[in-house]
Symmetry: none
Subunit: 434 residues, 2 copies
């Protein structure tokens, strides 16, 4: 995609609570997602404090580097709301009172039986020549104005008000200005159980800054998402190209691919349970309920998920899952044998098609020389019996729990996919924890 | 604080998934919070894509406007990781291979029984004269370098690795360079079970923009955090002022306060279990394992958490928890009676001091006229018997699960605090879902 075909957008958020890190800024991500889906190229998100001058400088700087800009926040009535002043300074246009906005403010307060403080009148001031954007849910009306080839919008910072004004007033104005109606087609291939460097090696030649479709790779919570995207005018052609590259990505990553786009690992498993008419019961030790939590995040799972047991104590493993106490004595609670007995026990107790289990040492305490923190066994039981997998995970307690739960769910997926001809094999897996 | 005493920091995050809005950027907020607490002034967060040149330009631009900069992301082994190249370009210093980093990489892969791909060697390249920052949990080592009066750091983008390197290597180096040791004292009072508007009303007069200590209120996942902060040179005096205002905040918010600073609701409950020498067993229906997951995120909980049952099916409620099937037939699985029987059953089965339960309709399906989506009962059982609480929650499936689990844990907290003289009362609670 040539640079001249790009419609570049810069997003700015203001507020000291954001720069200080007291709140996480989410308005930019919300707007960016919608803009990207419509073929815009979001080049930067910038978060600034409440001061006027840095905001005015940033507006002037980025107005020269993009075709559209949206600023959220700083339109309120208080002394630290300075977006309108910054826009006035950056554009050299004086603020003038808008009669319609004064009437809107008076009506707003009147409807709520309140008297308007005179400080609210600042919300009726707009840079000369700017368009005033309506706000049906608050006093902060928005701003749209030209600044040397860039269209600049200011919207409220309160997420609910921002969303309403962005969706209703801003997005359409931006899209109407795009010279060619560009489209961006994105498909994401989701992968589990592969180190990032290994995924990268398998995708050699596809990840290239200049190529279209572009292939990118991100990792979050051990899930690798490989995105394939292309921008251009001909949506049908783009879709064909993206589909072709996505198919290549899937083929190179093989059985580690569990789904596309927004699909979670648990959703892919619940989809397979539904296809197969299968049910599952869960036996958890070190994951403490997280496998059940992940599976029950999927709407409609109650037809397939029968029950779970969090058998933290050995007594619970024996009484609730029927694990022979001699097995625990002989191999320890963290062992392939106990993991397999837990999975089989959960399956038998519930009368489920499949049982899945976890047992391990999540840390930070409890590790030994032979059984260190991060050692986890996951097992799956079905009509063929039980198979387990040994994992050496790293990270903190929550990261180990998270990965162990995902490996357990992934073993369930593999068992459902493999049917009668294989399934998970007992074996050692050394993960990179990425 | 005079401008000349300010120590300004700029934070940059890189990644196309961030500019596109596919993920919300949180690294900057994490770092900003710590930097602000130590008296730094964070002037901007900037999020850029994967391209090298805009990053190099931004680094050069902001290095002239602040005393320190931290860049997260773009240190991986893949072709779209370009932070080291951008730093080389911005500083005019060539990349050179660091022998120690090569050895670190080789050892890293060797320890995991894997062969290093040659693409990983890029992670051993650093701008000439830069300091290499260790990464005990991954292959991406960090960078520290001078750029015209500004110290520039690059850290991994994976949040867990970023946090470890920022906390262990970056923050201390920044603080050591600050000329005037300003202090910011922050205390946070954590609150659950109160609507935001009610908390705001109770804090009337304390939340005043011009006051010091400043009082601010943020809400995340139904937890309200009230921060009390003050900045200045005399740390002892600041601490006294902050303590005084924090005590006032606690007194106004009463029993809804469950802890301070980073304490989670589950940690406060585990602390009370330890103090009382008590144990707990969990019976979950609609929360699907989340109560167990939250409690088992606390290190050392295995001494107090005996077992959990995720009784999604009625059969599991009867067989695993001893809920009389006639009770389910008479009142339905989502009822105060069944919630109380589940809590008592879990307590009795495990021989625990306390039992806690959830049953409800998480949606999106399954709601009826009389039992709508969001109706949840939580119950606690102890030696005095069982008491339940009716909740009307809103939001999506995951939000309802999250709130229901927190209410269950909060009831546990109240039961532990109240001892023999009260505890949770049966009653209706209509929450605002904030």
């Amino acid at each position: 995609v040539a640079a001249e075909a790009e419609y570049r957008v810069c997003l700015i958020a203001t507020g000291e609570e954001l720069t200080r890190g007291a709140s996480v800024e989410t308005n930019c991500a919300y707007m960016a997602k919608a803009l990207t889906a419509h073929g815009c190229r979001v080049v930067a998100h910038l978060t600034l404090g409440d001061a006027q001058q840095p905001l005015a400088e940033a507006v002037a700087h980025w107005a020269g580097r993009c075709e559209a800009m949206v600023i959220s926040g700083g339109l309120g009535p208080t002394a630290d709301d300075r977006t309108r002043f910054a826009l006035s300074r950056a554009s050299g246009r004086a603020l003038v009172e808008d009669a319609g906005a004064v009437a809107h403010l008076e009506a707003f307060f009147h409807a709520r039986g309140r008297t308007m403080a005179s400080t609210n009148l600042v919300q009726a001031q707009f840079p000369e020549g700017a368009e005033v954007l309506p706000n049906p849910v608050g006093t902060a009306r928005g701003i749209a104005m030209e600044m040397g080839g860039c269209v600049v919008f200011a919207v409220p910072g309160v997420p609910a008000e921002m969303r309403r004004m962005f969706d209703g007033e801003v997005l359409g104005r931006i899209l109407a200005r795009m010279p060619a109606r560009l489209h961006t087609v994105v498909r994401t291939v989701n992968v589990f159980g592969l180190p990032e460097s290994e995924a990268d090696a398998r995708l050699e030649g596809l990840i290239d800054e200049t190529a279209s479709p572009a292939v990118g790779l991100t990792v979050n919570g051990s899930i690798i998402r490989v995105s394939v995207s292309a921008t251009g005018a001909d949506e049908g052609r783009l879709r064909g190209e993206v589909d072709r590259v996505a198919a290549e990505v899937r083929s190179r990553l093989g059985s580690h691919v569990f789904g596309e786009d927004e699909t979670t690992l648990a959703e892919s498993v619940v989809g397979l349970l539904e296809e197969r008419g299968a049910t599952v019961a869960v036996a958890e030790s070190c994951t403490g309920g997280l496998v059940g939590h992940m599976l029950t995040n999927v709407p409609g799972v109650s037809r397939f998920f029968l029950e779970g047991v969090v058998a933290y104590s050995n007594r619970a493993k024996v009484e609730l899952l029927g694990v022979p106490s001699g097995l625990i004595a002989a191999h320890g609670a963290v062992s392939a044998e106990v993991a397999e007995a837990m999975a089989s026990g959960a399956r038998a107790r519930a009368g489920a098609t499949l049982g899945v289990s976890t047992t391990g040492i999540a840390g930070p305490g409890g590790g030994t020389e032979t059984k260190p923190v991060g050692l986890v066994y996951v097992a799956v039981a079905d009509e063929r019996g039980a198979r387990s997998r040994r994992l050496e995970l790293w990270g903190g307690r929550e990261a180990i729990k998270d990965r162990a739960a995902k490996y357990a769910i992934d073993e369930l997926r593999r068992a459902l996919l493999d049917g009668a001809d294989g399934g998970a094999q007992t074996g050692n897996e050394v993960t990179d924890g990425s």
